[in-house]
Structure formats: C-alpha cells, structure tokens
Symmetry: C2
Subunit: 282 residues, 2 copies
C-alpha cells in the first residue's frame, strides 16, 4: 500500500502568485497614466453568469484593474451584440473584452466571438486566437486551459511524454487544452459524448482533464493510481465534473471545486488584460 502524500492543488495559491506578479506591472503602467481595463459583456440574466461576472469585476477592482460591465437584455440580437463589441473594439481605453459564455440560444455565439478584435481577445475565444494557441504562439490562450497549464507548472507536475486524457471537446475548453498539452509534449487523447469505453481510456491517463460539464461525472474507479486530476467543471452549486472524494482516493494530485481551476482562470484573465494594456495602452 502506498503512503504517498496526496496533494490538493490549491488554486487560490496559484492565483495569488499570478496576481503578486501583476501588481508591480500595474504600478508601472499607472506611472505612464495607463489603467488596464477589461470590458465584460453579459447578455440576459442567467444567475450563475451574473455571479461569475461579478467575481471577475471584484478581482479586477482589488488589483487596480478597471472593469467595465455591459449588460444587455436577453432579447439582444446577434447584430446588436456585434455592434456592442464593435464599440468596445474602437474604445482605446478598453484593453480586453470578455463575452460571458453562454449567450442566449437565439444568438450566434461564434459570430459574436469572432467580432472581438484579436488584440483585445484576452479570453482566447476567436478562431484566430484558437489557432495561434494550437500552433504555440498565442498572446492570449483561452483562460481556463491556460489556468490548467499554470497549475501543472506551479506544482512542477511533469507533462512531457505523459498521457493526458481530456474529457470534452468544446472550442473554449476541451479543444484548446488538448492543443496546449500536446504543445507541452504530452500524448493527448480527446474524449467526448461519442467516445466508447470512456472509463478504459481514462484509466490509461497520467493526467486527467475533466471538461465535460456534468456534475460528478468522472468516477474514482476510472482513475489510475497516482494520476493527476484537474477538474475544469463549474456546475450549479459549485460542483465540479469530478467525483472528488472517490478520485482523491486514487490520485496523486487533484484540484478541488471550488478553489481549484476557477480562481486561476480569473487570475489568468487579469494577467492577459495587463499584457494587453502593456502592449496597446495609450
């Protein structure tokens, strides 16, 4: 029986480290008269989305980043949303633009994402931003995938040559995190709703990324002893995609929910906004 110490990967610690490194950069920008500014667009009144947006706004405030919030009614059309994005693209005081996902079903979300100017796409949602990331030279990789890579790096968990199994293939999570792990020299298997024998595949993984959007989906019996488990899920009630206690029993390291990937995602968003302000700040 192994007596290895279980490592709970502390997202708050990783986020704090990222924010500490931002503080002097923000001070330096202030000397030049530049305040980094993130504009967040929220369409409709989904309560969880409103919570995330508020959390992001508070995180900006605490760090001295300006946040602008654009609230649009649920009845907003794709064209109206694209117009609103266009105005933020034009606004020189805005360095980053975040369109809170998901938008109401009648809106063409992909078209709206594409309307974000690449130099303000701090959440890495545009098609071009995705591909730059897949080719390993993006300025702003999608924030949740980048947060997952930051946690692995912070805890010096090896990636090169390891087999990573990603459960999920969304354009803002499963696909970009698969690309980033591949670029970091992992062997990457991307699974999804059509995957057969999912449990058997996950059992092969040295690194498991849960990005499926189903509460407590990943079972303890799927985890190879000693694997690293990262839970990018954010289901209602602060529940992850991983059956935490069961997976904790098998894993060598695991992220909890809350206080795992979530806070690092927000810190990454702030970092990208500061990056953008340094590059394009007037």
């Amino acid at each position: 029986m192994s007596h290895a110490i279980k490592r709970i990967l502390d997202g708050n610690a990783v986020a704090s480290r990222i924010k500490e490194q931002l503080a002097p950069r923000i001070a330096k920008l202030a000397e030049r008269g530049v305040t980094p500014c993130l504009a967040t667009i929220l369409v409709g009144d989904d309560p969880s989305s409103a919570t995330y947006v508020r959390m992001k706004g508070n995180a900006c405030k605490r760090l001295g980043i300006k946040s602008i919030r654009v609230d649009l009614p649920a009845s907003t059309t794709t064209e109206e949303l694209i117009d609103a994005i266009g105005q933020l693209n034009e606004d020189k005081a805005v360095h980053g633009i975040l369109l809170q996902h998901p938008v109401p079903h009648h809106i063409d979300e992909r078209a709206a994402f594409e309307a974000i100017a690449i130099e303000k796409d701090v959440d890495g949602v545009t098609t071009l931003g995705f591909a730059q990331n897949a080719f390993g030279y993006a300025d702003y990789p999608s924030c949740t995938p980048a947060a997952i890579m930051a946690i692995l790096a912070h805890y010096e968990l090896p990636v090169r040559g390891r087999h990573a199994v990603v459960i999920g293939r969304s354009p803002i999570l499963g696909k970009p995190v698969s690309a980033m792990l591949l670029n970091a020299d992992a062997t990457v298997t991307t699974c999804h709703s059509r995957t057969e024998n999912l449990a058997d595949l996950v059992r092969l993984a040295d690194i498991v990324i849960a990005a499926v959007g189903k509460p407590n989906f990943v079972q303890g019996g799927w985890i190879k002893p000693g694997a690293v488990v990262l839970d990018a899920g954010y289901n209602p009630g602060n529940v992850g995609d991983v059956d935490y206690e069961a997976c904790l029993a098998k894993a060598s390291a695991i992220t909890p929910v809350p206080a795992g990937v979530g806070p690092v995602t927000i810190a990454t968003l702030l970092k990208h906004t500061v990056d953008a302000a340094e590059k394009f700040g007037a």
Copy 2:
C-alpha cells in the same frame, strides 16, 4: 483464424471519383469564361518537391485547370517569397495558391504561409484556415487530412465512436487530421516523438494514421487485428511511414504507397481550386 477479406484502399479510385465530379463543374465555369487556376510556388531545387509540383501541374492540365508555376531560387529571402505570394493574392485570375513544403531552412515558412490570402488558401496552411477546420467550418481543410477523411468516407469505414491514433503533430498533417477525426466523432489520440509506449497506444487504435515522416516506421506488431491503417507518409523512394506487408497482415483495410493517400491529396487540391473559382471567379 479470420478469413475476412483484406481491403486495399485504392487511392486512385477515390481520386478518379473526385475528379469525375469536378469535370461538369469545370465545364460550367468555362461557359462563364472562367478557368480555375492554381498557382504553385517552388523555392529551391529539391528534386522530390519538383516531382510533386510537376505531378500537380499535370493533374491540373488533364482536368482543364490552369496551373501557374512560380520557381524561386534557393537563395530567396522570406520577404521576397512573401512579395511573390502578395502578387498572386492580387492576381484575380489566380484562384488557389500552393506553397510547396518544405521551403529552405533560412525562410520563415510560417510567415510565408500566413501571407496567403485566406480565400486562396486551397491547401489549408494558414493559421486561420487551420482553426476554421478545427471548428468544423473550413472552406479548405489541409489537403492530406481531407484526403484521409475522403478515403474513409469513400469506403464507408466507420469513424464515429472509434478510437483513432494519429502518429505525428505537424501543423499541416498531424494536427489538422486529429481535428477532423475529432469533428467526425472519433476519439482521437495524438502521438509524437515524445510519446512513451507508442506501440501500446497504437495497439488500442481502430484507425491508425501514420503521419510521422519516417520510412516503414509503423510495425505490424503495433496493429490491432482488424484495424484500419492510413499511411500519409511520402519518404524518398516512394516509401510510406508504414511497414506495409507486416501491417497488411493485421489490418482489415490499408492504404498502399504509392497509390494510397497521395493521389487523393492531389485530387482534393484540384477540388479546392474549383471550389475557389466558383466562389471568386471573375
């Protein structure tokens, strides 16, 4: 012992079918006074590249597609190459642009690829073209990955839910074919030079894509009985990436080299050129 018939996947047959479907479209364009035109740029005097370019030119000619060949010396700079691409971008009579890979080492190939206008990127080499493909809505996916998908479709080999193992992660082959297989609902594992236990992973595959660029690299002992093997290799001397006889003994279906993926790649390039001429032909 299994008596299943081995299927040799005939690339010439698939290519012929694609070209047959192009003939009436080219005739219709002619009525409008439009001749589809592919411009190919060859830098330096690599003999295999010269052969590929000649084969593509001949294939165009036989079908009534105009081909322009731009030969540049090995000493061409990145800037000069980009200038040459810019001229072809401006030329309304040119519908598709192909930069023959590889270019000499001193040239920034990625920068040159990016200089190709997206609407003329019939080989799917731009970053934006790659991402559109990864998101499932590209006009012109990279030709070799598209050829692999065309062979699977032609022979009605099932992809959904199957486990595909791709060996290779280049931006024009391994990465886009992984994306296309994923979008076709395969579970996809992408392997590469840093992969540990490669043979064990390939043994899991229902579909094996060899895109590694090493002659006879994939061994018969790596193939699960009944797997489908597609060889995208094109090594000197017309040798594939797969040890053909050994893998043939295990596979249910396999592409030979030559007369496998190669001719379908060329037919796909012609198809994309005709697509572009229909869209943008004056």
